[in-house]
Symmetry: C2
Subunit: 244 residues, 2 copies
């Protein structure tokens, strides 16, 4: 069943006014009477289309749905800016695995040049990717993608757990710290995960993060590419906390 | 350090004769004295280039390396044939996560048309992808990609554990069977994992696999795309068995 996230106003007024109007009409070829799922990221309903106009679609709420699909903890990914469209993939994939927010982070070994005048539009585009992925994976909430920021400008004080996925830890055979962290998580814990770009995290950044209380963790003995590491982290948290 | 997998003959003769000669010369711009890692999938050595000829490269073994990077169990993925180049991605990603073998499997809802005359070349190409990914992720072994086969032609009798990643199980809130399987694995267990194509596994295929002793497992509450499911499986096995 196709799901659409709407604003609180639209949710109250039983209406869809965003780009999704185009999607309903031209991609799904929606007709009066068709069923969709509508969510305001707090609750969601099975809904029936009752009017399809040029600029909006009206629906009727048929049945409240129960959605317990959110990971029981909040994971924020500070992803060292990778090359090409890897950030798109990271957002798509980590949304399926339950990420809460993604913060594209400029690190010393990020090769990509960031054009400050384009950050706003890029952030809008990345949030659209997150919304679509959240619809497809049946999330209750849409992960938030924040504006690209430099590592040393970030305030990490709000987090309960702070980890860096660190290849050198893995190479040194460090195989216990990550599991320790996961085992100690509680419902609603806030975890931040720093992952370097393709070239890894610079030694000076490691020292900086250590001083801020970060733990350097290995994710098993194989070398994971930058875009894969967060999936290992989220999958392990889901396995530990969501499966019985 | 760049790694190259070679045949046993080449390993004994301290030589590289495959496509990797091109890679060493033109991609890495290798020079006499450069260090590489050479593996025959059984043991591996740090090696020094001593001769770079047109058709081969000679090296000297400098130091035996210890590589314990293989997952302690053998996971075979029977992947319902997906669209486009998703199979390439699945092989690249699952190699990083420790897969042992991938068998592209024709299922009822596979949309892709398979041209029997092209299967051989396609298999060769997919094995090259696996080899490159294994070099990059520092595996000791290269996962094997078998020829594309129809689901009902497969002999599953060699496996100790047989699971199907089944979306309907996840939707029904089935959250314990996968963890039960993972917790009961032993070193060298052989596990086969069946994952449907984009449209999922057909009901008749589910019944067929159940009769063969397969367990239908859910992988948490969110809907994972076909190419993501194996990463959840492998990540969980690594987390459970490789991390302390």
């Amino acid at each position: 069943m196709q799901k659409y996230f709407v604003s609180n106003d639209d949710f109250l007024n039983n209406i869809i006014t965003s780009d999704d109007v185009f999607h309903i009409k031209n991609v799904m070829r929606g007709k009066i009477g068709d069923l969709i799922v509508v969510s305001n990221e707090n609750e969601e309903y099975l809904c029936k289309l009752v009017e399809i106009a040029k600029e909006y679609v009206k629906y009727e709420k048929v049945e409240k749905l129960i959605n317990n699909n959110e990971l029981p903890v909040y994971v924020s990914l500070y992803q060292g800016l990778p090359k090409g469209d890897k950030l798109d993939d990271i957002i798509k994939m980590s949304t399926q695995f339950g990420i809460d927010s993604v913060i594209p982070t400029i690190m010393k070994r990020s090769i990509v040049k960031v054009d400050p005048s384009k950050i706003k539009n890029k952030t809008i585009r990345l949030n659209k990717i997150a919304k679509e992925a959240a619809e497809q994976s049946n999330r209750l909430k849409v992960p938030k993608v924040m504006e690209t920021i430099k590592l040393d400008k970030i305030d990490f004080s709000e987090y309960d757990y702070k980890i860096v996925c660190y290849e050198e830890s893995a190479k040194d055979g460090e195989l216990s710290l990550f599991k320790n962290v996961v085992k100690s998580l509680n419902k609603d814990s806030k975890i931040c995960v720093v992952i370097g770009p393709e070239g890894g995290i610079d030694e000076s950044e490691v020292e900086y993060l250590k001083k801020l209380g970060f733990i350097m963790v290995g994710l098993g003995p194989r070398i994971l590419r930058t875009e894969m590491a967060i999936l290992y982290v989220l999958g392990a948290i889901s396995y530990e906390m969501e499966l019985k």
